[in-house]
Symmetry: C2
Subunit: 390 residues, 2 copies
DNA sequence: CTAGTTTATAAACGAGCTTAACAAACCCTC
DNA sequence: GAGGGTTTGTTAAGCTCGTTTATAAACTAG
């Protein structure tokens, strides 16, 4: 730790080269004129030239043909861009039913995306692991890459993950999953940094990536299960490892056990519980699912509206203390329930305004199915760049 | 923003000088041999010599008389130490009833500490401001310093403070306080960085300073009012400005308004409310205050024990959602109620264990009355060092 | 008083950035 | 198509800084 040895002129070179690389990255994926880099970095032309030469040599950047540069009435500029293929990263989303893999290049361009379902049930852990290996293989093939070329890897999984070892400590939704050392398994195949992270946390990272600027964000994944991730100034907050587990908040009143490892709030306002509430409230139309309830509420059905309001109130009361302590700029709701639309949003906003000092903006996530995968790729990329600049 | 211009060899000098200063600071307040600095920083002897010369010249360090160095069988070493007086910082704690000021030197040695009471009531804001000016004057006198020598200033005040402007947005406990621009007032007298911060946040910073290492800490101030500060990896979490306002968490059940701006949780388990609960429960001994209730509970009185358990349960239920989201390593309770001792602690621990996945260590703060002042001085010092290394 | 140890000083060297002058390549106008 | 204007690239001199290496200083132990 604290290795800051030998601060001589070579360190300057490293610093400046890193600054140039960062500047190119910020303008990715398009090519950048060297003169532009001079302006942006504040370095002088010879310095930038030297750094670019080094970076091209090392494979980080690629020169563009001067013939193709747009003319602006002077000597044609040299242009460079990130050579994305130089360090692709692999992301994985290991869900209880689905496993997906994606590969992004340095500039966050998607090189491959593969998805595969895996049946649940007994021995699910084993099947999941096999599915993981398969999607990895297919993704590598699709991108035309070997495992050794991968520069970073991040995996999203349900459950609570130990930050240090990467071991999964608690994963009620996948039987046997805690006894699989996923991190170790992957490290056997890849010789790059491997990060295992809770899926809701990665989703939060993906959501934060969509939002401009920094600040505090609470990103809720609301489906059958209920989880959240906290992102502060672009960085994931892990707490002592289990941050964001809002599914285990206990709402007022008695919540019957289900024995499937779900938390009290999940059992009260998870997608399944919402359908149950509607059924008990006598919503016409047989056995509705959560989506049907929200649709009915949107259409004006007063029974459904009461159910939605009840759900929103419970949610707001459950998270209000966390909102008061964390004071996030926004709460973004994703997951299956997020497709509910504005009915739910308005109700949550209304209740939260009543329960907090500084009600955050409550929004629905605009991200589609691949949220966790996107977050995993983002984490892998972030880690990669972080290592570069240290 | 992003000014990183002109990265030439002079930057190296700045970097290395800063590294030397940091190394000296880490060994404060004792003097350090130059040879030791060479070893610690990894720089070479001539470089360290140059940096030390510069720092002595600029007044940051002072040389020690070689005659006084302990002999170790060789040429006597040059030794330097922080010249604390070079940049003292001023801390203020503006409470509703008491105002205190403190001055620390660079090495966090206390140079002055002054306290003064200010009566509440109408026109309290004006009297407070006068008291602030007075304690500042006396502290400066006590330390033998002029206002221009102060290198940093931080103020703790009740209420919610806007991070950008330093304006106080909400302060129910001091009438008229929001219309006083404290930050502006101080900036008129001092030409150093001025930070205004919520008092509970500063207390949290002080508590965090007492704890080794990093991690997530929820520091609760529990007295008549109830507030908290969140410290993550040594840095204060401000959220959008009002983080930690646990007094406004709404516990289950109806909480009558009192119209004095206190939040629902404060009205339920604040010091005054605890006494009220005991009175209503029929605790013998007339009109007890909170301390008496805790004392009776410790002594074995079952009525008092029921009250304490009720209070602890309410507290635990209120903060459990925040604990699940934040997953702090510890909750430290300070303020008047903290003097309750292990009765309260045990009860809170018990209830929290039942309501969270990963129950944090609940502890009592070891800090005395000056918690907020200590935090203010710490914030001012942190800011000062932060500015130096940028 | 000499040997050994620890520390400080000074000069030579090398790496890196900056300045400044100059060259290249292109557009436009006459 | 020749020359001026513009943007960009190239090169060499000069400066700052850290490192290396050799040498001197100051002290203790025996």
């Amino acid at each position: 730790m604290g290795e800051e040895r030998a601060v001589g002129t070579p360190v300057l070179r490293r610093l400046n080269t890193a600054a140039v690389l960062r500047a190119v990255r910020e303008r990715a994926p398009g090519p950048v004129r060297l003169a532009e880099l001079v302006e942006v970095t504040g370095l002088t032309r010879p310095t930038v030239g030297q750094a670019v030469d080094d970076l091209v040599e090392a494979g980080w950047l690629q020169q563009h043909d001067p013939a193709t540069t747009p003319r602006r009435g002077g000597r044609p500029a040299l242009r460079v861009s990130l050579r994305g293929r130089a360090a692709p990263v692999l992301g994985l989303d290991v869900g209880p039913h689905t496993v997906s893999a994606g590969i992004d290049d340095l500039a966050a361009r998607r090189l491959a995306a593969v998805r595969r379902s895996a049946e649940a049930g007994p021995a699910a852990a084993g099947r999941l692991l096999a599915a993981v290996d398969e999607v990895i293989e297919r993704a590598l093939q699709e991108a035309g890459l070997g495992a050794d070329e991968i520069a970073g890897l991040a995996v999203g999984t349900p459950g609570i993950v130990d930050a240090g070892s990467g071991r999964i400590l608690l994963a009620p939704s996948v039987p046997g999953w805690t006894s699989v050392d996923l991190s170790d398994h992957l490290r056997g195949r890849f010789h790059c940094p491997v990060q295992v992270e809770n899926d809701a946390n990665l989703a939060a990272l993906a959501v934060a990536g969509e939002r401009p600027g920094h600040g505090t964000l609470l990103a809720v994944q609301w489906g059958e299960r209920l989880g959240a991730g906290v992102v502060i100034d672009g960085r994931l907050h892990r707490g002592s490892g289990a941050a964001g587990e809002i599914g285990f908040i206990r709402p007022p009143g008695h919540v019957p056990e289900t024995g499937d490892g779900r938390g009290p709030l999940e059992r009260t306002i998870g997608a399944e519980a919402i359908a149950g509430k509607a059924r008990r409230a006598g919503l016409p139309g047989g056995a509705p699912d959560a989506a049907a309830v929200f649709a009915a509420a949107s259409a004006g059905d007063s029974t459904a509206q009461r159910v939605v309001d009840d759900v929103a109130a419970t949610f707001a009361q459950a998270v209000a203390p966390a909102v008061l302590v964390l004071d996030p700029d926004a709460i973004v709701i994703g997951g299956g329930v997020a497709r509910a639309g504005s009915v739910l949003l308005a109700a949550v906003n209304r209740h939260l305004a009543d329960l907090t000092l500084n009600p955050p903006a409550v929004e629905l996530s605009g991200l589609a199915e691949d949220t966790v995968l996107t977050g995993a790729l983002r984490l892998a990329l972030d880690e990669f760049w972080r290592r570069l600049s240290v």
